[in-house]
C-alpha cells in the first residue's frame, strides 16, 4: 500500500479529496503510529482519495499555545496554513482531537479555512453509507468495550455520539465509565501536560482514570486520541491489568474487524 504525499499528488497533477493530517504523535510515537497505519488501511480499503503532508506537516502549535507560548503557536499556525493554502486544501481528516480542535477552531481566524473532520466522525459516516463492511463473527463480538471520551473531542467540540456509534457495529457490549460524555474525566495529557512531569498530588490523573476503566470490567478501552491512548495504557500498566485489558483506538478496532 502506498501513502501519497500532497507534493507527489500535485506533481502527478491530481488532488486528493482529503488531506490526512497525521499529527506529531501519529507520525513519531511508536504506539500512535499503529493507529495512523490502521486508519490509512481503512481509507485505502474504502477507496478514499487522500494524501498526507509528510515532511511538510508541522506541529499545529496546540501544546505551545496551551502552555502559554502564543508566539510559537502563531509561528506554527502561520507555517501550516501557508503550506495547506498553497495546496488548496479543502477537507482535512485527522486522528488527533488536539490537531482537530486547533485546525477546526483556531486556524480560521488566522486565515486557514478548511472542513475538518475527526476520524471517528468519518468512520461513522462511512458505516452509515455502508462502505465499511465487517467480517462475520469479528474479533470483538461480545467483548466488553468501554469508550473513554477525549476532552478535545467531547467537551471541546461536542462529539460524543460518533465514536459510540462506530463501536456499536462491532456487536460488542458497550459499558460506560462512571464519568463519561460531558462529565468524562481527562486522561491527564491535555494543556501540554503530556510534555512535563505532573504537578505534585495524591495520585496521577491517568491512574485515577485507569481505575475507573478497570472498574467497568471491560476487556477493551476504546480511545479516539493518541495521547489518551498513551496515558490510559500507562495507567492500566500501573494497575497491573495490562494482560486483562487493552487500550485500542477506534480506528484499530475497525481496521481489525473489516472484511
Amino acid at each position: 500500500m502506498k501513502v501519497n504525499t500532497m507534493a507527489e499528488m500535485m506533481a502527478s497533477g491530481t488532488m486528493p479529496e482529503y488531506l490526512f493530517w497525521v499529527g506529531c504523535a501519529g507520525s513519531f510515537d511508536q504506539r500512535a503510529q499503529k493507529i495512523t497505519k490502521a486508519f490509512s488501511l481503512i481509507l485505502d480499503k474504502v477507496g478514499i482519495s487522500y494524501a498526507i503532508l509528510g515532511k511538510e506537516e508541522a506541529c499545529t502549535g496546540d501544546p505551545a499555545r496551551r502552555a502559554g507560548n502564543e508566539f510559537l503557536f502563531q509561528m506554527m499556525a502561520y507555517q501550516n496554513i501557508q503550506v495547506m493554502n498553497a495546496y488548496g486544501v479543502k477537507k482535512i481528516i485527522t486522528t488527533c482531537p488536539h490537531c482537530f480542535n486547533t485546525i477546526k477552531n483556531e486556524y480560521p481566524e488566522l486565515g486557514g479555512n478548511y472542513e475538518v473532520i475527526h476520524h471517528t466522525t468519518l468512520l461513522q459516516s462511512l458505516i452509515n453509507e455502508g462502505k465499511i463492511i465487517l467480517k462475520e463473527g469479528g474479533a470483538f463480538k461480545g467483548k466488553k468495550i468501554s469508550y473513554h471520551d477525549s476532552c478535545y473531542l467531547g467537551r471541546a467540540n461536542n462529539i460524543y455520539e460518533a465514536p459510540r456509534k462506530v463501536l456499536e457495529i462491532l456487536d460488542a457490549e458497550l459499558i460506560e465509565m462512571k464519568r463519561c460524555r460531558s462529565n468524562g474525566l481527562c486522561c491527564g495529557a491535555g494543556g501540554a501536560q503530556m510534555f512535563k512531569e505532573e504537578e505534585p498530588g495524591t495520585t496521577r490523573i491517568n491512574i485515577e482514570r485507569a481505575e475507573e476503566a478497570v472498574a467497568t470490567g471491560a476487556q477493551i478501552i476504546a480511545s479516539a486520541c493518541p495521547f489518551c491512548n498513551t496515558m490510559l495504557t500507562d495507567g492500566i500498566k500501573n494497575k497491573e491489568k495490562e494482560n486483562e485489558m487493552a487500550v485500542l483506538d477506534i480506528a484499530e478496532l475497525i481496521a481489525e474487524s473489516m472484511a
Binding site: C59, G68, N69, M76, C151, G191, G201
Partner: protein, 436 residues
C-alpha cells in the same frame, strides 16, 4: 407615631437603596477595569442562554435532587418578592396589607402560596446547613472555603431562615390580632402555615401581639434591606450576576482559545516585514499578570461565582490532590478585585501596591496543573470560565517571565526546530508510511 413610621421607613429605604447603589457602582467600576474584548454577537442565542442557564437552571439538573432544592429557594426568592412589594408600599403609605381590599379572597390564596414557598425555603435552608456542617459534602467543606467563605455561606442560610420565620411570626400575630378584632387588622382568612402559630399566640394580650406583629414586620423588612446590602460583599451576589454571566458566556466551541491578534501580527511582520505598518508598536503586555489585563467578562464572573465548587469537584487536577482548584481561581480573582477596589476607593486612582493576581493570589504551581480539559466550565451551572483566567495567566508566565519548567522549554525548542514536541528529525515524519 402614625406620621413618623412612614418617614422612618422611607429614610431606611432610601439609605439602603443609596448604600446598595454606591457599592454596586464600585463593583461595576472595578469590573470595567478589565479589558473590553467582549463578544456581543448573536443576541438571540445569548438570551436563550440566559433563559436556559440562569432562569431555567438547566445545568443544575445534572444533579436533580440538589437542583430541585435550589429551585425551591430560587422560586421562593422571586415569588415572595411580590409580598415584599406590598410590604414596601405599606411602609411608605402607612397602610396595612394594602392589596387586601383590591383582591379580596384572592389575597388569602396569594399569601398561602407565599407561605408554602417560605416554608419550603426554610426547610431547604436547614437541609443545606446540614449538608455543609453535618454531612460535610466534599465540595462544600474543602479547604477553599476555610474561614470567611464558610461563614458567608452559613450566614446566608441562617439569615434566610430568620427572614422566613419573621414572615410567619408577622402573619401569625396578624391573625391573632384579627381574632381579637383589633383596629387596622382586617380579616384576611386563615393562612396555611402561620395559622399554626395562632393558638399559642392567642394566649398573649393584644398589646403584646401588636408589639410582636410590628417588631416582626420591621425586622423582616430591615432584614431584607440589610441582606440586599450584604449581597455585594457576599458570594450570594450570584443571584444578580448569574444573569449577565449567562448572557456573555462563550458561544464558541469550548476548545477554542482566544486569539492574540497582537502576537499574530508580530509573527506576520517577522516573516513578512513588508506587511508591517511603519507605526507598528508591540503590545505592552502579553497575557494577564493582574486583573487589569483580564477581560472584564472574567472579572464579572469572579463576582458572579457563588463558590459551589462543582468546577473543582469535576477538575482532574483538584480531584487528584494538585494545588489547583478552579473555584479558588475565581475566589482569588475576586479577592484581588476587592483589594484593588478598596485601593481605588481610598486613593481615587489605583496606586501600585506591589502585588499582582499572578504570584500573590495564584501560584505558578496551580497554573501548571491545568489540563485545559474544560471540565470546570462544563460543570459550572452558569458556564463561568476559570480556564480563561488560567490561560491568560499562563501566557503572562511564559511570554513575560519566560517562566516554564525545563521540560516545556525543551518542548518549545523541539517544536520550533524539529516541528514536533519531541526531538525527532522532521525528515522521519513520514517513515511510518513506508512500513505498511
Amino acid at each position: 407615631m402614625e406620621m413618623l413610621a412612614p418617614l422612618i421607613f422611607l429614610a431606611l429605604l432610601a439609605t439602603a437603596g443609596f448604600l446598595f447603589y454606591k457599592k454596586a457602582s464600585l463593583i461595576k467600576k472595578t469590573i470595567l477595569l478589565g479589558k473590553s474584548e467582549i463578544q456581543y454577537e448573536q443576541p438571540a442565542h445569548r438570551w436563550k442562554q440566559v433563559l436556559l442557564l440562569a432562569f431555567g437552571q438547566k445545568k443544575m439538573f445534572k444533579n436533580p435532587l440538589v437542583a430541585f432544592l435550589h429551585l425551591i429557594i430560587y422560586a421562593g426568592f422571586i415569588i415572595i418578592n411580590v409580598e415584599v412589594l406590598e410590604i414596601v408600599i405599606d411602609g411608605i403609605t402607612g397602610k396595612h396589607r394594602v392589596f387586601l381590599p383590591y383582591i379580596g379572597s384572592f389575597y388569602t390564596y396569594f399569601i398561602n402560596v407565599f407561605e408554602i414557598l417560605a416554608f419550603g425555603v426554610t426547610v431547604v435552608c436547614v437541609i443545606f446547613l446540614v449538608r455543609r456542617n453535618v454531612l460535610y459534602i466534599k465540595r462544600l467543606s474543602s479547604n477553599d472555603l476555610a474561614g470567611w467563605p464558610k461563614t458567608d455561606a452559613n450566614l446566608i442560610l441562617v439569615v434566610e431562615i430568620v427572614l422566613m420565620s419573621l414572615f410567619f411570626l408577622m402573619n401569625g400575630a396578624d391573625q391573632a390580632l384579627q381574632n381579637l378584632q383589633v383596629a387596622h387588622y382586617a380579616p384576611t382568612g386563615s393562612f396555611i402555615v402561620s395559622s399554626m402559630l395562632v393558638p399559642s399566640l392567642s394566649q398573649l394580650s393584644a398589646d403584646t401581639l401588636l408589639l410582636i406583629e410590628r417588631s416582626a414586620w420591621w425586622l423582616h423588612i430591615i432584614g431584607i434591606l440589610a441582606f440586599l446590602n450584604y449581597l455585594p460583599y457576599s458570594k450570594h451576589l450570584h443571584i444578580i450576576l448569574a444573569f449577565p454571566s449567562a448572557y456573555f458566556s462563550s458561544l464558541e466551541p469550548a476548545g477554542k482559545m482566544k486569539n492574540m491578534p497582537s502576537v499574530q501580527n508580530e509573527v506576520l511582520y517577522a516573516v513578512d516585514p513588508s506587511k508591517a505598518p511603519t507605526d507598528a508598536t508591540p503590545p505592552a503586555t502579553f497575557g494577564a499578570k493582574d486583573i487589569f489585563d483580564l477581560n472584564w467578562k472574567s472579572l464579572m464572573e469572579a463576582y458572579s461565582c457563588t463558590e459551589c465548587g462543582r468546577c473543582s469537584a469535576a477538575c482532574p487536577a483538584t480531584t487528584t490532590g494538585k494545588l489547583l482548584s478552579p473555584r479558588k481561581i475565581m475566589m482569588a480573582t475576586r479577592d484581588r478585585l476587592e483589594e484593588v477596589a478598596q485601593n481605588i476607593n481610598k486613593n481615587t486612582n489605583f496606586i501600585d501596591d506591589q502585588k499582582t493576581l499572578l504570584h500573590n493570589y495564584i501560584s505558578v504551581e496551580e497554573l501548571r496543573a491545568c489540563t485545559t480539559c474544560n471540565a470546570c466550565v462544563e460543570a459550572c451551572p452558569v458556564s463561568l470560565s476559570p480556564l480563561d483566567i488560567i490561560m491568560e495567566l499562563r501566557r503572562s508566565l511564559i511570554m513575560e517571565e519566560s517562566n516554564a519548567p525545563s521540560e516545556w522549554n525543551n518542548t518549545f525548542s523541539n517544536i520550533e526546530n524539529n516541528f514536533a514536541p519531541w526531538k525527532f528529525s522532521p525528515e522521519d515524519r513520514e517513515n511510518w508510511a513506508k512500513e505498511i
